[in-house]
Protein backbone atom coordinates (compact mmCIF):
# COMPACT_ATOMS: atom_id res chain seq x y z
CA UNK A 1 0.00 0.00 0.00
CA UNK A 2 1.75 3.23 -1.13
CA UNK A 3 1.53 6.39 0.95
CA UNK A 4 -0.95 9.01 -0.36
CA UNK A 5 0.80 11.82 -2.23
CA UNK A 6 -0.08 14.71 0.16
CA UNK A 7 1.24 12.71 3.11
CA UNK A 8 4.36 11.66 1.23
CA UNK A 9 5.00 15.25 0.12
CA UNK A 10 4.57 16.55 3.67
CA UNK A 11 7.01 13.91 4.96
CA UNK A 12 9.50 14.66 2.18
CA UNK A 13 9.47 18.40 2.95
CA UNK A 14 10.37 17.75 6.56
CA UNK A 15 12.59 14.69 6.18
CA UNK A 16 16.09 14.91 7.56
CA UNK A 17 18.44 12.68 9.49
CA UNK A 18 17.30 12.45 13.11
CA UNK A 19 19.25 11.16 16.07
CA UNK A 20 17.09 9.02 18.35
CA UNK A 21 16.80 10.04 21.97
CA UNK A 22 19.08 8.26 24.40
CA UNK A 23 17.69 5.71 26.84
CA UNK A 24 15.53 7.21 29.63
CA UNK A 25 17.99 6.14 32.32
CA UNK A 26 20.86 7.85 30.48
CA UNK A 27 18.81 11.00 29.96
CA UNK A 28 17.86 11.10 33.64
CA UNK A 29 21.59 11.37 34.44
CA UNK A 30 21.46 14.89 32.96
CA UNK A 31 19.75 15.78 36.23
CA UNK A 32 22.59 14.45 38.39
CA UNK A 33 24.34 17.86 38.71
CA UNK A 34 21.03 19.53 39.62
CA UNK A 35 20.35 16.78 42.16
CA UNK A 36 23.82 17.20 43.70
CA UNK A 37 23.37 20.99 43.85
CA UNK A 38 20.01 20.61 45.64
CA UNK A 39 21.40 18.01 48.05
CA UNK A 40 24.31 20.20 49.10
CA UNK A 41 22.69 23.59 48.49
CA UNK A 42 19.71 23.31 50.85
CA UNK A 43 21.75 22.69 54.05
CA UNK A 44 24.50 25.09 52.93
CA UNK A 45 22.04 27.92 52.30
CA UNK A 46 20.30 27.35 55.64
CA UNK A 47 22.22 25.28 58.17
CA UNK A 48 23.15 21.68 58.81
CA UNK A 49 20.99 19.90 61.38
CA UNK A 50 22.43 19.93 64.88
CA UNK A 51 22.74 16.16 65.27
CA UNK A 52 24.87 15.43 62.18
CA UNK A 53 27.68 14.05 64.38
CA UNK A 54 25.29 11.81 66.31
CA UNK A 55 23.76 10.43 63.11
CA UNK A 56 27.07 9.63 61.48
CA UNK A 57 27.85 9.68 57.74
CA UNK A 58 25.62 6.80 56.68
CA UNK A 59 22.40 7.93 58.40
CA UNK A 60 22.92 11.57 57.44
CA UNK A 61 24.63 11.78 54.03
CA UNK A 62 24.20 8.13 53.08
CA UNK A 63 20.42 8.14 53.38
CA UNK A 64 20.15 11.50 51.62
CA UNK A 65 22.32 10.34 48.73
CA UNK A 66 20.19 7.18 48.48
CA UNK A 67 17.05 9.32 48.44
CA UNK A 68 18.54 11.51 45.69
CA UNK A 69 19.35 8.41 43.64
CA UNK A 70 15.78 7.18 44.14
CA UNK A 71 14.57 10.58 42.92
CA UNK A 72 16.67 10.13 39.78
CA UNK A 73 15.22 6.64 39.31
CA UNK A 74 11.68 8.05 39.54
CA UNK A 75 12.59 10.70 36.96
CA UNK A 76 14.00 7.97 34.70
CA UNK A 77 10.61 6.22 35.02
CA UNK A 78 8.92 9.50 34.06
CA UNK A 79 11.15 9.78 30.98
CA UNK A 80 10.35 6.19 30.07
CA UNK A 81 6.64 6.99 30.46
CA UNK A 82 7.21 9.82 27.97
CA UNK A 83 8.15 7.36 25.21
CA UNK A 84 5.18 6.03 23.18
CA UNK A 85 4.69 2.32 23.73
CA UNK A 86 6.70 2.28 26.93
CA UNK A 87 4.00 3.47 29.31
CA UNK A 88 4.24 2.16 32.84
CA UNK A 89 1.67 -0.26 34.21
CA UNK A 90 -0.89 1.21 36.59
CA UNK A 91 0.50 -0.90 39.41
CA UNK A 92 4.03 0.42 38.84
CA UNK A 93 2.79 4.01 38.85
CA UNK A 94 0.75 3.46 42.03
CA UNK A 95 3.61 1.69 43.81
CA UNK A 96 6.06 4.43 42.83
CA UNK A 97 3.76 7.22 44.01
CA UNK A 98 2.87 5.57 47.33
CA UNK A 99 6.51 4.63 48.05
CA UNK A 100 7.74 8.08 47.06
CA UNK A 101 5.25 9.88 49.26
CA UNK A 102 6.01 7.57 52.20
CA UNK A 103 9.80 7.84 51.84
CA UNK A 104 10.32 11.04 53.94
CA UNK A 105 8.49 9.39 56.87
CA UNK A 106 10.31 6.08 56.41
CA UNK A 107 13.68 7.86 56.48
CA UNK A 108 12.79 9.67 59.70
CA UNK A 109 11.81 6.35 61.27
CA UNK A 110 15.13 4.85 60.13
CA UNK A 111 17.12 7.87 61.32
CA UNK A 112 15.60 9.00 64.61
CA UNK A 113 15.32 7.05 67.82
CA UNK A 114 12.65 9.36 69.29
CA UNK A 115 9.76 11.07 67.58
CA UNK A 116 9.07 14.04 69.81
CA UNK A 117 11.57 16.54 68.41
CA UNK A 118 9.49 19.27 66.86
CA UNK A 119 8.64 22.95 66.75
CA UNK A 120 8.20 24.88 69.99
CA UNK A 121 4.75 25.78 71.28
CA UNK A 122 2.82 27.84 68.73
CA UNK A 123 5.49 27.43 66.05
CA UNK A 124 4.17 24.30 64.35
CA UNK A 125 2.58 26.22 61.51
CA UNK A 126 5.48 28.67 61.02
CA UNK A 127 8.16 25.97 61.03
CA UNK A 128 6.00 23.68 58.92
CA UNK A 129 5.48 26.41 56.34
CA UNK A 130 9.24 27.18 56.33
CA UNK A 131 10.15 23.54 55.62
CA UNK A 132 7.39 23.21 53.01
CA UNK A 133 8.53 26.37 51.21
CA UNK A 134 12.23 25.43 51.32
CA UNK A 135 11.58 21.96 49.91
CA UNK A 136 9.05 23.08 47.30
CA UNK A 137 11.35 25.84 46.02
CA UNK A 138 14.36 23.50 45.93
CA UNK A 139 12.40 21.13 43.68
CA UNK A 140 11.70 23.81 41.06
CA UNK A 141 15.02 23.58 39.11
CA UNK A 142 14.73 19.79 38.88
CA UNK A 143 11.12 20.05 37.70
CA UNK A 144 12.14 22.52 34.98
CA UNK A 145 15.00 20.37 33.67
CA UNK A 146 12.89 17.20 33.82
CA UNK A 147 10.03 18.97 32.01
CA UNK A 148 12.39 19.95 29.19
CA UNK A 149 13.72 16.40 28.92
CA UNK A 150 10.20 14.91 28.90
CA UNK A 151 8.90 17.44 26.37
CA UNK A 152 11.66 16.41 23.95
CA UNK A 153 9.98 12.98 23.89
CA UNK A 154 6.25 12.50 23.35
CA UNK A 155 4.39 11.80 26.60
CA UNK A 156 1.00 10.32 25.73
CA UNK A 157 -0.12 10.63 29.36
CA UNK A 158 1.51 13.94 30.31
CA UNK A 159 -0.20 14.11 33.70
CA UNK A 160 1.37 10.82 34.77
CA UNK A 161 4.80 11.61 33.30
CA UNK A 162 4.76 15.05 34.94
CA UNK A 163 3.51 13.70 38.25
CA UNK A 164 6.37 11.22 38.28
CA UNK A 165 9.09 13.72 37.48
CA UNK A 166 7.56 16.12 40.03
CA UNK A 167 7.69 13.32 42.59
CA UNK A 168 11.34 12.61 41.70
CA UNK A 169 12.22 16.30 42.02
CA UNK A 170 10.37 16.45 45.36
CA UNK A 171 12.37 13.50 46.69
CA UNK A 172 15.62 15.19 45.64
CA UNK A 173 14.58 18.37 47.46
CA UNK A 174 13.58 16.41 50.56
CA UNK A 175 16.99 14.70 50.54
CA UNK A 176 18.55 18.14 51.02
CA UNK A 177 15.90 19.26 53.50
CA UNK A 178 16.49 16.32 55.85
CA UNK A 179 20.12 17.45 56.23
CA UNK A 180 18.78 20.79 57.51
CA UNK A 181 15.62 19.92 59.48
CA UNK A 182 15.99 17.55 62.43
CA UNK A 183 12.34 17.52 63.50
CA UNK A 184 10.96 14.03 63.91
CA UNK A 185 7.40 14.75 65.03
CA UNK A 186 5.19 12.74 62.65
CA UNK A 187 2.78 15.62 61.97
CA UNK A 188 5.65 17.89 60.83
CA UNK A 189 7.29 15.20 58.71
CA UNK A 190 3.99 14.17 57.13
CA UNK A 191 2.56 17.59 56.35
CA UNK A 192 5.63 19.78 55.83
CA UNK A 193 8.08 17.31 54.27
CA UNK A 194 5.66 14.80 52.73
CA UNK A 195 3.34 17.65 51.75
CA UNK A 196 6.13 19.39 49.84
CA UNK A 197 6.90 16.17 47.95
CA UNK A 198 3.19 15.81 47.11
CA UNK A 199 3.04 19.46 46.03
CA UNK A 200 6.03 18.94 43.73
CA UNK A 201 4.26 15.95 42.23
CA UNK A 202 1.12 17.98 41.55
CA UNK A 203 3.21 20.87 40.18
CA UNK A 204 5.04 18.47 37.83
CA UNK A 205 1.73 17.07 36.55
CA UNK A 206 0.38 20.59 35.93
CA UNK A 207 3.58 21.67 34.14
CA UNK A 208 3.51 18.60 31.90
CA UNK A 209 -0.15 19.10 30.99
CA UNK A 210 0.42 22.77 30.16
CA UNK A 211 3.52 21.92 28.08
CA UNK A 212 1.63 19.17 26.23
CA UNK A 213 -1.23 21.57 25.41
CA UNK A 214 1.28 24.17 24.26
CA UNK A 215 2.85 21.63 21.92
CA UNK A 216 -0.57 21.05 20.34
Amino acid sequence: MPAPKPLRDAIERDLKSTRPLRRPSTRALALAPVAAAILVGVPLLHAFRGDMDVLGFVRAWGFSIAQTVLGLVVIALALRESIPGRSLAAGTVATTVVSGLALPMVLVVMTSSRFDIGPGPGLALVDGAACFKTSALAAVPAIIVAAILAARAFPLRPGIAGGLYGLGAGLMADAGLRLYCDYSVPSHVLFAHGGAVAASMVAGACVAIVVARGQG
Partner: protein, 172 residues
Protein backbone atom coordinates in the same frame (compact mmCIF):
# COMPACT_ATOMS: atom_id res chain seq x y z
CA UNK B 1 13.09 2.22 10.73
CA UNK B 2 16.80 3.01 11.17
CA UNK B 3 16.99 4.12 7.51
CA UNK B 4 13.91 6.29 8.02
CA UNK B 5 15.64 7.94 10.98
CA UNK B 6 18.60 8.53 8.67
CA UNK B 7 16.29 10.64 6.50
CA UNK B 8 15.58 8.26 3.61
CA UNK B 9 12.20 8.70 1.92
CA UNK B 10 12.20 5.18 0.48
CA UNK B 11 12.53 3.91 4.04
CA UNK B 12 9.40 5.86 4.97
CA UNK B 13 7.62 4.20 2.03
CA UNK B 14 8.72 0.84 3.40
CA UNK B 15 7.48 1.67 6.91
CA UNK B 16 4.16 2.87 5.47
CA UNK B 17 3.74 -0.23 3.31
CA UNK B 18 4.52 -2.51 6.24
CA UNK B 19 2.33 -0.82 8.83
CA UNK B 20 -0.48 1.19 7.19
CA UNK B 21 -2.81 -1.80 6.76
CA UNK B 22 -2.43 -2.97 10.33
CA UNK B 23 -2.79 0.55 11.71
CA UNK B 24 -5.93 1.07 9.65
CA UNK B 25 -7.40 -2.19 10.93
CA UNK B 26 -6.60 -1.21 14.50
CA UNK B 27 -8.07 2.26 14.10
CA UNK B 28 -11.16 0.83 12.45
CA UNK B 29 -11.77 -1.44 15.44
CA UNK B 30 -11.59 1.68 17.63
CA UNK B 31 -13.78 4.05 15.59
CA UNK B 32 -15.95 1.71 13.42
CA UNK B 33 -15.88 4.26 10.59
CA UNK B 34 -13.90 3.37 7.46
CA UNK B 35 -13.53 6.96 6.22
CA UNK B 36 -12.47 8.24 9.64
CA UNK B 37 -10.02 5.34 9.98
CA UNK B 38 -8.40 6.38 6.67
CA UNK B 39 -8.02 9.96 7.91
CA UNK B 40 -6.62 8.78 11.22
CA UNK B 41 -4.03 6.63 9.43
CA UNK B 42 -2.66 9.78 7.76
CA UNK B 43 -2.68 11.67 11.07
CA UNK B 44 -0.93 8.74 12.73
CA UNK B 45 1.87 8.71 10.15
CA UNK B 46 2.32 12.47 10.52
CA UNK B 47 2.56 12.01 14.28
CA UNK B 48 4.97 9.10 13.82
CA UNK B 49 7.08 11.38 11.66
CA UNK B 50 7.05 14.23 14.19
CA UNK B 51 7.99 11.98 17.09
CA UNK B 52 10.29 9.59 15.23
CA UNK B 53 13.25 10.44 17.45
CA UNK B 54 11.42 8.79 20.38
CA UNK B 55 11.77 5.42 18.67
CA UNK B 56 14.57 3.47 20.30
CA UNK B 57 16.51 1.50 17.66
CA UNK B 58 16.55 -2.19 18.45
CA UNK B 59 13.17 -2.18 20.16
CA UNK B 60 10.02 -3.55 18.49
CA UNK B 61 8.33 -0.96 16.27
CA UNK B 62 4.72 -2.08 16.70
CA UNK B 63 4.12 -1.12 20.38
CA UNK B 64 5.54 2.34 19.62
CA UNK B 65 3.43 2.78 16.47
CA UNK B 66 0.20 1.45 17.97
CA UNK B 67 0.59 3.64 21.06
CA UNK B 68 0.81 6.66 18.75
CA UNK B 69 -2.17 5.46 16.69
CA UNK B 70 -4.27 5.05 19.84
CA UNK B 71 -3.26 8.52 20.99
CA UNK B 72 -4.27 9.99 17.61
CA UNK B 73 -7.64 8.25 17.92
CA UNK B 74 -8.17 9.52 21.47
CA UNK B 75 -7.27 13.08 20.44
CA UNK B 76 -9.71 12.88 17.55
CA UNK B 77 -12.44 11.59 19.87
CA UNK B 78 -11.75 14.38 22.33
CA UNK B 79 -11.93 17.00 19.57
CA UNK B 80 -15.15 15.49 18.24
CA UNK B 81 -16.62 15.46 21.75
CA UNK B 82 -15.68 19.10 22.27
CA UNK B 83 -17.24 19.98 18.92
CA UNK B 84 -20.41 18.11 19.88
CA UNK B 85 -20.63 19.83 23.26
CA UNK B 86 -20.19 23.19 21.55
CA UNK B 87 -22.98 22.38 19.10
CA UNK B 88 -25.21 21.16 21.95
CA UNK B 89 -24.53 24.34 23.90
CA UNK B 90 -25.43 26.44 20.87
CA UNK B 91 -28.63 24.46 20.38
CA UNK B 92 -29.54 24.78 24.07
CA UNK B 93 -28.79 28.48 23.93
CA UNK B 94 -31.10 28.88 20.96
CA UNK B 95 -33.85 26.95 22.78
CA UNK B 96 -33.59 28.84 26.05
CA UNK B 97 -33.14 32.34 24.75
CA UNK B 98 -35.83 34.72 26.06
CA UNK B 99 -36.34 36.43 22.74
CA UNK B 100 -36.63 33.99 19.83
CA UNK B 101 -33.93 34.70 17.31
CA UNK B 102 -35.23 36.48 14.25
CA UNK B 103 -34.70 34.19 11.23
CA UNK B 104 -34.05 37.13 8.88
CA UNK B 105 -31.38 38.53 11.21
CA UNK B 106 -29.75 35.10 11.36
CA UNK B 107 -29.60 34.93 7.56
CA UNK B 108 -28.07 38.41 7.41
CA UNK B 109 -25.47 37.42 10.03
CA UNK B 110 -24.58 34.26 8.10
CA UNK B 111 -24.27 36.22 4.88
CA UNK B 112 -22.08 38.79 6.56
CA UNK B 113 -19.78 36.10 7.93
CA UNK B 114 -19.57 34.46 4.49
CA UNK B 115 -18.84 37.80 2.85
CA UNK B 116 -16.16 38.61 5.41
CA UNK B 117 -14.62 35.17 5.03
CA UNK B 118 -14.33 35.68 1.29
CA UNK B 119 -12.10 38.68 1.92
CA UNK B 120 -9.64 36.60 3.95
CA UNK B 121 -6.72 35.16 1.91
CA UNK B 122 -7.44 31.50 0.97
CA UNK B 123 -4.67 29.99 3.11
CA UNK B 124 -5.84 31.88 6.20
CA UNK B 125 -9.52 31.15 5.42
CA UNK B 126 -8.76 27.44 5.28
CA UNK B 127 -7.04 27.54 8.69
CA UNK B 128 -9.90 29.58 10.20
CA UNK B 129 -12.51 27.14 8.92
CA UNK B 130 -10.57 24.07 10.00
CA UNK B 131 -9.95 25.40 13.51
CA UNK B 132 -13.01 27.48 14.36
CA UNK B 133 -15.68 25.67 12.35
CA UNK B 134 -14.48 22.07 12.10
CA UNK B 135 -12.89 22.21 15.56
CA UNK B 136 -9.57 20.67 14.48
CA UNK B 137 -6.48 21.14 16.63
CA UNK B 138 -3.55 23.07 15.20
CA UNK B 139 -1.52 19.85 15.12
CA UNK B 140 -4.21 18.23 12.95
CA UNK B 141 -4.36 21.27 10.67
CA UNK B 142 -0.58 21.29 10.35
CA UNK B 143 -0.60 17.60 9.45
CA UNK B 144 -3.32 17.99 6.85
CA UNK B 145 -1.85 21.07 5.20
CA UNK B 146 1.74 19.85 5.47
CA UNK B 147 2.85 22.93 7.42
CA UNK B 148 4.28 23.54 10.87
CA UNK B 149 2.00 23.91 13.91
CA UNK B 150 3.10 27.51 14.43
CA UNK B 151 2.30 28.33 10.81
CA UNK B 152 -1.21 26.89 11.28
CA UNK B 153 -1.70 29.02 14.41
CA UNK B 154 -0.44 32.13 12.62
CA UNK B 155 -2.73 31.57 9.62
CA UNK B 156 -5.82 31.10 11.82
CA UNK B 157 -4.91 34.09 13.98
CA UNK B 158 -4.29 36.38 11.01
CA UNK B 159 -7.47 35.16 9.33
CA UNK B 160 -9.56 35.96 12.42
CA UNK B 161 -7.84 39.34 12.76
CA UNK B 162 -8.63 40.15 9.15
CA UNK B 163 -12.27 39.12 9.68
CA UNK B 164 -12.60 41.31 12.76
CA UNK B 165 -11.08 44.28 10.94
CA UNK B 166 -13.40 43.76 7.97
CA UNK B 167 -16.48 43.45 10.19
CA UNK B 168 -15.52 46.57 12.15
CA UNK B 169 -15.18 48.48 8.89
CA UNK B 170 -18.54 47.30 7.51
CA UNK B 171 -21.33 49.95 7.32
CA UNK B 172 -23.54 48.51 10.13
Amino acid sequence: MADYLDGRLDAFDGVYAALAGRIRGYLYTLCRDASLADDLVQDTFMQIHRSRRTYEPGRPVTPWVFAIARHVFLMQRRTAGRRQRFADALAADALHTDRPRDEAAAVIDRDEVRRTLRQVPPEQRQAVLMHHVEGRSFAEIAARLGIRVNAAKTRAFRGMKKMRETMKGSPD
